[in-house]
Symmetry: C2
Subunit: 313 residues, 2 copies
């Protein structure tokens, strides 16, 4: 199952982190932007071209270090269809470099529509009998507010195509409390119920290393909940955003991991993409600065988790 | 505020319905598909071209009847970036015909990323000082699982650009119970809490007719909850999916409306798009069949709600 491929890549690289590709224009060095604007003008196409070149440089520099990248859809959609073409090309380029690609789209809908999203991001689109890949990533983040019949179409595609999903359980933002921490009649919190659904949905996609194809998103900004959920959800792999710029540190994410240094992958976006600005590096060295920051992050986290061991269960 | 424009269009056309543009390839007449495939092959581009031509015909036929259309993102994303170009062109074409466009994307994310979605679908994208519209619709459906800081960036854009949002409260699908009907400590259901947040968020976007710029999605398949929520959420306009093919009828949606026949707009997609197939019409008459079905739906609902009156409050 799909998350096995991610788990193996993490062990191979001894690096439980993923680089978020959230390419705001202001993160991109001038020399890349100016080249794109010279060709396409200050248009959606120009912005999309700049993003794609920025991403390619990052992927080249990061592909030996991180096991996975996570493009955030919103930062491509804001540049319209040219942005979505840059998303497609970024995913294809990252996969070509051997990276596992998690598309961060937080998609959600009722069953028949979820089939369309599953085809878009994980499976294939049937065009009058011919199969085409629309975006073709390895995993997709999803929002479970609609319940099981919004999730099942994804499970079918994950099974057929060896892909995975990550369901929002406890998000990294401050006001995630408002809905996710609502206390239910039985004294559980809503995020706990969502977590239990992840375990349930995951039974359809068992994995070699004990973790299913249904992961959970749990923010680095909530270490107590990370610890609680890690103990409660023994079959659910965690995608942990909120590290770095959002405030989570190595000690905060440590509880996300199991005793083999497995069970989780930590995302950082801004701190890696903007490393060249923070380090006052030459713009031409943006990718080198990103790689150095990715190594620093890896080392800081592995210092807490210890060696990552692949253990079948 | 934006929903005022929708409310006025509903009253002008005496039609509280919206046509969902969920253009699956199998709904599209052969003569349109074959023309597109002849030019682009059975590719994502070919499918996107067929969808766009199908939509243009529908919009031409429907623009005198319905006040609004609701393209469902998933059915465009499944055709990759060419599909997203067809979404853009569909939105532009519909707006050109005077229709209010609700993009059904159910987007959700933390604050900074939500800004990007808000720019993508409601506002403008800043490209090194130049403003470009990425998709430019009038309203967007969103998922509130992340809480207020995932909604606030939308409110800012809605305020600045005269746009609106619809937050998922109680969705039309069978298993929406699993999460949305969880009973909380204080004996409320989660969907009620989400509804109350809609009222709260809407205070920032007051409207002439008493309804704010923050609407709620409540499924036609849950008439009891529609009635309860209509009484409870006096400032929140409803977008009601699940009519027609999903099972909701005129009597089911009647409780969504206030005593002036206002307060809600009912969506139907499949029953309108596939009307030509169900009526055994000639494929060339697909748009005419869609228009007849849209009129039938309008008449059936207005028979329950009575004349729609614009009342300031």
């Amino acid at each position: 199952m799909a998350l096995d491929r991610l788990i193996e890549a993490i062990a191979n690289k001894q690096n439980p982190t993923v680089a978020g590709l959230d390419p705001k224009l202001e993160y991109i060095p001038d020399f890349i932007r100016e080249k794109a604007f010279a060709r396409y003008g200050k248009t959606l196409e120009g912005a999309a071209e700049a993003i794609l070149e920025f991403n390619r440089g990052l992927i080249d520099a990061l592909c030996g270090i991180v096991p996975a990248v996570k493009p955030q859809c919103a930062y491509y959609e804001m540049y319209g269809w040219p942005g979505m073409r840059a998303l497609h090309d970024t995913i294809a380029y990252a996969k070509g470099k051997g990276l596992f690609v998690i598309t961060d789209g937080k998609r959600n809908d009722i069953g028949s529509t979820m089939q369309a999203y599953a085809a878009a991001y994980l499976g294939k689109t049937n065009i009058a009998g011919k199969s085409e890949e629309a975006f073709g990533s390895d995993a997709l983040t999803v929002n479970g507010y609609l319940g099981s019949d919004g999730i099942r179409p994804l499970l079918d595609v994950c099974h057929a195509e060896d892909k995975g999903i990550f369901v929002l359980v406890k998000t990294s933002n401050q006001s995630s409390d408002e809905i996710q921490n609502q206390t239910l009649e039985g004294s559980e919190s809503l995020y706990e119920v969502m977590g239990q659904y992840c375990e349930e949905w995951g039974k359809n996609l068992p994995g070699k290393y004990g973790y299913s194809g249904v992961g959970a998103v749990v923010g680095a900004t909530w270490p107590a909940q990370l610890k609680e959920l890690r103990e409660m959800l023994t079959r659910t792999f965690f995608l942990v955003p909120g590290y770095g710029a959002q405030g989570g540190g190595p000690e905060d994410v440590a509880p996300a991991f199991d005793s083999n240094g497995g069970g989780a992958v930590v995302n950082a976006s801004r701190s890696i993409l903007c490393a060249w600005q923070k380090q006052n590096a030459a713009p031409e060295d943006y990718a080198k600065a990103a790689a150095a920051e990715a190594e620093r992050m890896r080392d800081a986290i592995v210092a807490k988790t210890g060696k990552i061991r692949l253990v079948r269960r």
